[in-house]
């Protein structure tokens, strides 16, 4: 995943590389995902999310379309 100044910069970057535009969302949504995803990593017994758990984390940030299905 990559960060851009604005959607205009995303569109230009994709166009120049012949890439389809993927999912564009806000850093606030990314922070909402990053907290549960990485916050507990220093806890003993941490484990990766199951696909269903990961989809629930995405959904908690409003990321619900098929792009986010696992």
């Amino acid at each position: 995943m990559l960060l851009f100044r604005s959607e205009e910069h995303v569109n230009r970057w994709c166009e120049q590389r012949g890439l389809d535009r993927g999912a564009v969302f806000t850093p606030e949504q990314l922070w909402t995902v990053a907290k549960p995803w990485h916050g507990p990593r220093l806890e003993r017994g941490w484990r990766r999310f199951t696909p269903a758990e990961a989809e629930a984390v995405f959904a908690g940030a409003g990321l619900t379309d098929t792009f986010w299905h696992l």
């Binding site: 990559l2 999912a23 990485h38 990593r41």
Partner: protein, 146 residues
């Protein structure tokens, strides 16, 4: 020694020194044979908990930390800084360490400096946007480019 001991040792060493421990270092630190540490690295990599340089036991990624320099720096309130594998992971470093901090990176398109700031658990407003080129189900086909 459990795989979780090894995982935590790798993360703690990366936080403390910025360098990922070798299997020899980890074996010595956890008082197990180097071969046992190597086997644990292999299992952690197979389970996508860490990423190794292909054909080696050199740690490339121990999420959210990168063992190699990247353009995504988590600069913490305590004055220390750490490399994230991407902006998501750099924000994850801030979440994991539970401090205020900022992610310093650049716009992928134009190289303009961008900073995401976290204070007291909240992200400061920003005009920047995040782009994922690859759908979630395909991230592990090439975790270096998502």
């Amino acid at each position: 020694m459990t795989d979780d001991d090894v995982r935590l040792h790798i993360l703690r060493e990366l936080i403390a020194s910025g360098t990922a421990p070798s299997v020899a270092d980890t074996g010595a630190a956890l008082d197990v044979p180097e071969s046992d540490a190597a086997a644990a690295y292999d299992r952690l990599a197979a389970n996508r908990v860490i990423v190794l340089e292909p054909g080696t036991h050199d740690v490339l990624m121990a999420a959210p930390l990168s063992a190699v320099p990247t353009p995504h720096i988590a600069r913490m309130a305590d004055g220390r800084s750490h490399y994230g594998n991407c902006v998501w992971d750099a924000l994850g470093v801030i979440a994991m360490l539970g401090q205020d901090g900022g992610v310093e990176t650049v716009c992928t398109d134009c190289d303009a400096a961008l900073t995401l700031t976290v204070r007291r658990g909240a992200l400061a407003p920003t005009d920047a946007v995040v782009h994922f080129a690859v759908p979630a189900a395909r991230w592990w086909e090439n975790i270096v480019f998502t």
